[in-house]
């Protein structure tokens, strides 16, 4: 009996030791995060062959493409109508079956569906921030250059916005995983009459913005900037705060390690300046602040401030235009608002150094197209590429899509006179996004969730308490950021 006990004890000890040793090895060593990876093993397949018609173009017969799109808000109807246009044009050849899934759960829902092969979409149209996550978890497959040559449907990243197309490889050398489609961010509506009243012009840099605000406060006694409450639904943090960081040359995370590096120069100064520039607005001297931070509890009340002529600027998403204009007309009893409501962008608003190259940057979220790893038939793949090309490179389609506030990411369209002179673009888009090469997005990190939640914490900690010490906040939140990333590799 004693012998058995000793053997048992020995086994248990050996087991415990293996556990301890296994625990000492870092499972993520060697998981390099560099953005020049090479694919060694394919996780997708190619089946079938392309067939061509007499003109040498690919022949499609009744291919249905299931599209999962994140477009589910006020721009949903326009999107549906564009899809209907495509289906009409390609009747009998390609049909798009589009389903919208809300932004909150998009990445997790689609990832789950594709990995469990349950109601999996073929084509994904979603925010760029989630695409690195998709590729890291092998949810999507690249667009093959060979197939592009074969099918003569070529999509060249040089034709797209430089700021956005650099993400298209998702970190894999010479591969094309995601194709940019459009961009959107928070934009600025302003009241031309009020601006004239205070005798000012549109600000072109941060200091001028402060001057305009000061003049408005003195003249009108109400906050000049109306924007949605920061605690509403994270939009303020995800677009305005990040823009402020970009404009001051800040980096949300270090591109090679994917970790936050907010405490070493020059990033530390950049982040501090960004926070300072917002503090100039939300903690300005005097009883009336230039802009609220957490004061309003409803999204619509900030709109009301503008519409009731209490605010000079209204910062929100471009697809609000219609409801904004009609609300203004009703409440002020006017017929035409073209001379009253003007449009501009947040470019240069937050840059403390107005001469820097970053000053005009705008943080956007951009819709990118990606193909699910489950698509195998090459005709279907070609059909998908044809649709993407149609959607992103056809000027009439881009104009229609632009009417909801989404500026095209494709220079082939954006540089044409037809696009630029389109009434909508002239009145709005060109002012909203003065330079599409200056648009930046989340980039190549699969930890977009960590980035956004920590940026939110950073913004909240330093802006709700404007006396908080920025340096210590940067350090502590950065630590939390990096710990979470380390656990989540």
């Amino acid at each position: 009996m004693k012998k058995i006990k000793w053997i048992a004890l020995l086994c248990v000890t050996i087991l415990c030791l293996t556990f301890v040793f296994a625990g000492c090895i870092d499972p993520n060593a060697g998981n390099d995060d560099d953005d020049d990876k090479v694919i060694t093993e394919k996780w997708w397949e190619d089946t079938g062959e392309l067939s061509f018609n007499s003109e040498g173009k690919v022949k499609y017969s009744n291919i249905t493409i299931k599209l999962a799109t994140v477009v589910s808000g006020e721009d949903k109807d326009t999107f549906k109508s564009i899809i209907d246009d495509f289906n009409r044009e390609y009747k009998g050849r390609i049909a798009i079956d589009s389903e919208d899934i809300g932004q909150a759960n998009f990445e997790s829902t689609v990832a789950q569906r594709i990995s469990t092969k349950n109601k999996a979409p073929d084509l994904i149209m979603s925010h760029q921030k989630g695409h690195k996550y998709f590729v890291e978890n092998k949810i999507i497959q690249p667009f093959s250059k060979d197939l592009m040559e074969q099918s003569k449907i070529s999509i060249d990243m040089n034709d797209y916005s430089a700021g956005l197309s650099r993400y298209s490889s998702l970190g894999y050398k010479d591969e094309l995983f995601s194709i940019p489609c459009d961009a959107q961010s928070m934009v600025v509506f302003y009241n031309k009459t009020l601006l004239e009243e205070i005798g000012k012009e549109l600000p072109t840099n941060h200091q001028e913005l402060l001057d305009v605000c000061q003049a408005f406060v003195e003249r009108k006694g109400t906050s000049p900037i109306a924007w949605p409450a920061a605690n509403q639904n994270n939009h303020w943090y995800n677009y305005v705060f990040t823009t402020a960081i970009m404009q001051n040359g800040g980096k949300l995370y270090d591109e090679s390690t994917k970790k936050a590096d907010w405490t070493s120069e020059p990033n530390k100064t950049a982040m501090t300046k960004a926070i300072q520039s917002i503090r100039d607005l939300v903690a300005s001297e005097g009883v009336v602040k230039y802009a609220p931070f957490n004061d309003k509890t409803s999204d619509d009340s900030s709109q009301l401030e503008f519409v009731d002529n209490k605010a000079l600027f209204y910062v929100y998403f471009p697809w609000r235009i219609e409801s904004l204009e009609s609300l203004y007309k009703t409440r002020n009893n006017v017929q035409d608002v073209t001379d009253i409501i003007g449009t501009t962008s947040v470019a240069n608003w937050f840059a403390m150094d107005s001469s820097s190259a970053d000053a005009g940057k705008i943080f956007v979220d951009s819709h990118f197209f990606a193909m699910s790893k489950l698509v195998t038939d090459v005709s279907k793949k070609a059909a998908i590429m044809e649709f993407i090309k149609w959607f992103t490179q056809r000027t009439d389609v881009c104009k229609k899509w632009a009417s909801t506030g989404h500026i095209t990411a494709c220079k082939l369209v954006g540089d044409t006179d037809e696009y630029k002179n389109d009434a909508y673009c002239q009145r709005y888009l060109n002012n909203f996004y003065p330079d599409i090469d200056n648009l930046v997005s989340m980039g190549l990190t699969s930890h977009y969730n960590t980035v956004l939640s920590h940026i939110k914490t950073l913004g909240y900690e330093t802006l709700s308490n404007t006396a908080a010490d920025i340096e210590s906040k940067l350090a502590s939140i950065q630590k939390s950021f990096n710990d979470e990333i380390a656990m989540n590799k």
Partner: protein
């Protein structure tokens, strides 16, 4: 003389009578106040659901809408056809899944407790011991792996139809917890207290196990069944944790009421629509209250007919 004799006991009675009366008054006062306070949130909820939007802004401290500001608009907004009346789907989902869960739990507990008490087979006692031990293990340990199993089996089955997905998801809503140990042991303990002679005499009369089960045991167990029904009904109706995990990303029409109503606390925009939030809550509460009103009368009848003494 007689009066004297009756005088003495009268004095003692009236002393305790006085204390009792004093206590009753104190208790009455306290309970009355407590009850008023308890009813406050519910009155507020109902009253606010009828307030017009204007009244919501201008009269937030009133429990009831001010004169002329009563409106059914909030109810209409989610009950009318064009709002795709999700509340009905939610209530429906909650109701049928909870009732199924409760029904299965009761049946399984009856069956298993019967087997453990009235049948003899090898390993019976060991199994019961194992159950007692396992009761100490909290369910939270299993949440993450159960989620992984849920997803993995879904992958394996490759369900493509909506109906199939719905059935699969609700399988995972209804089934976990049916084998809850606490309830089963409760039933078993009740069965243990039934005098053996009833069963033995029935057996010697030649009754099969099935007959004994249906004709004798089940009727006797009415009160324990009620207990288990009540334990599991609210637990299932109210569960937030697990449904939240498996409903994420699914169509809103498939949600249960508890999850559906969290929309009003999650999103600030929805929360700002106070009137609608209150109206929806009131509406969601109605079925529960109705269900209990109905089952209550049945329970009194059932208990009276089986003659279980206090």
């Amino acid at each position: 003389m007689l009066t004297r004799l009756t005088d003495k006991p009268k004095k003692t009675l009236s002393k305790s009578e006085r204390t009792i009366r004093k206590e009753k008054t104190v208790s009455f006062v306290v309970l009355f106040i407590v009850t008023i306070l308890w009813m406050l949130p519910l009155i507020y909820m109902v009253g606010t659901s009828f307030k017009s939007d204007y009244d919501l802004q201008t009269n937030p401290s009133g429990l009831f809408p001010s004169a002329g500001q009563w409106t059914l608009a909030h109810y209409k907004s989610f009950l009318s056809a064009d709002s795709d009346a999700k509340i009905f789907y939610w209530l429906g989902n909650s109701l049928w899944s909870t009732l199924l869960h409760v029904g299965l739990t009761v049946l399984l507990d009856l069956l298993t407790a019967y087997v453990l008490v009235f049948l003899n087979f090898k390993g019976k006692e060991k199994f019961v011991k194992l159950l007692y031990l396992w009761m100490a293990v909290p369910g939270v340990i299993g949440t993450a792996p159960m989620f992984a199993i849920f997803a993995a089996i879904r992958n394996g089955l490759e369900i493509s139809s909506d109906a199939g997905s719905y059935a699969y998801i609700f399988f995972w809503i209804v089934m976990p917890g049916v084998s809850g140990i606490f309830n089963m042991l409760l039933m078993r303990n009740f069965f243990l207290s039934i005098p053996r002679d009833i069963v033995d005499s029935a057996r010697s009369d030649g009754a099969s196990n099935f007959k004994i089960f249906t004709k004798i045991i089940v009727p006797l167990a009415r009160s324990t069944i009620m207990l288990i029904v009540l334990f599991t009904f609210t637990g299932s109706w109210n569960s937030l944790n697990w449904p939240q995990l498996i409903f994420s990303g699914e169509a809103q029409k498939w949600w249960t009421v508890t999850i559906g109503l969290t929309k009003f606390t999650d999103s600030q925009a929805a929360a700002a629509a106070t009137g609608v939030a209150m109206a929806t809550s009131v509406f969601a509460m109605l079925p529960i209250i109705i269900v209990f009103l109905f089952t209550q009368s049945k329970m009194i009848d059932g208990l009276a007919s089986t003659g279980i003494k206090a």
